[in-house]
């Protein structure tokens, strides 16, 4: 699958590692050029990956998912991260990816992003949300603590 869904066309240019697990792009906005890194890390269960992304400190080079940038481009950043999901699952088509926000505010932001594009995302991915007790198919207006996606084959 080389074509991204049209909603994802507005994303930043991305550099991808050869193993398709690490991505880097630059957010452009009033706060300047902010390098962002996305990493898919396999966790203890084989075939399951954690999706993490954060900002690179321009001085230390340290990557943090707690930095609040407010560069005015959150939608484009989310679209870019979503685009990396396509690239990653193009290579790892059986992978299951878990995503959580580093803060509750961010988790809510991700939920809103999924909600606003749910029908389109569901064309290509199975999406689940984590309630207090189990995983369920993602529904609107439910507060989830984490999200899980798998590419539809």
């Amino acid at each position: 699958m080389l074509l991204l869904h049209p909603m994802l066309d507005n994303h930043y240019e991305v550099e991808i590692s050869l193993d398709a697990k690490t991505y880097e792009f630059t957010s452009l906005g009033p706060k300047g050029d902010i390098v962002k890194v996305v990493r898919y890390s396999e966790i203890d269960v084989k075939g399951y990956y954690n999706l993490g992304f954060g900002d690179k400190d321009p001085i230390t080079g340290f990557i943090s998912d707690l930095t609040v940038t407010n560069n005015g481009d959150s939608q484009k950043v989310l679209a870019t991260v979503a685009a990396t999901l396509y690239a990653f699952t193009d290579t790892n088509f059986e992978a299951t990816i878990i995503a959580t926000g580093s803060t509750e505010t961010r988790t809510r932001l991700y939920r809103m992003g999924i909600t606003n594009n749910l029908e389109e995302i569901q064309k290509d991915f199975i999406i689940m949300g984590l309630t207090e007790i189990n995983w369920e198919s993602f529904r609107r207006n439910i507060t989830y603590g984490a999200f899980l996606v798998r590419r539809k084959l």
């Binding site: 991305v14 690490t22 685009a83």
Partner: protein, 65 residues
């Protein structure tokens, strides 16, 4: 042959794999950067999130997909 052959053959395999991967088509707006494979090897990226994901699967279990 021996060690020299092994090292040279290994380098050839890696180079050929990299070239094959670079030819692999990517979504629009993506390009390969081989340096990214090890660029952040000195940092445990998103360690807290990885641990949280492990904790979730351990306590809640796997989803029924």
């Amino acid at each position: 042959m021996g060690r020299f052959w092994f090292v040279e053959n290994y380098k050839f395999v890696i180079m050929k794999t990299k070239k094959m991967l670079e030819k692999k088509k990517l979504p629009k707006g993506f390009k390969f950067n081989a340096t990214l494979d090890d660029k952040y090897a000195d940092q445990p990226l998103f360690k807290d999130k990885v641990e949280r994901s492990n904790h979730i699967l351990k306590t809640i279990g796997l989803p029924k997909l």
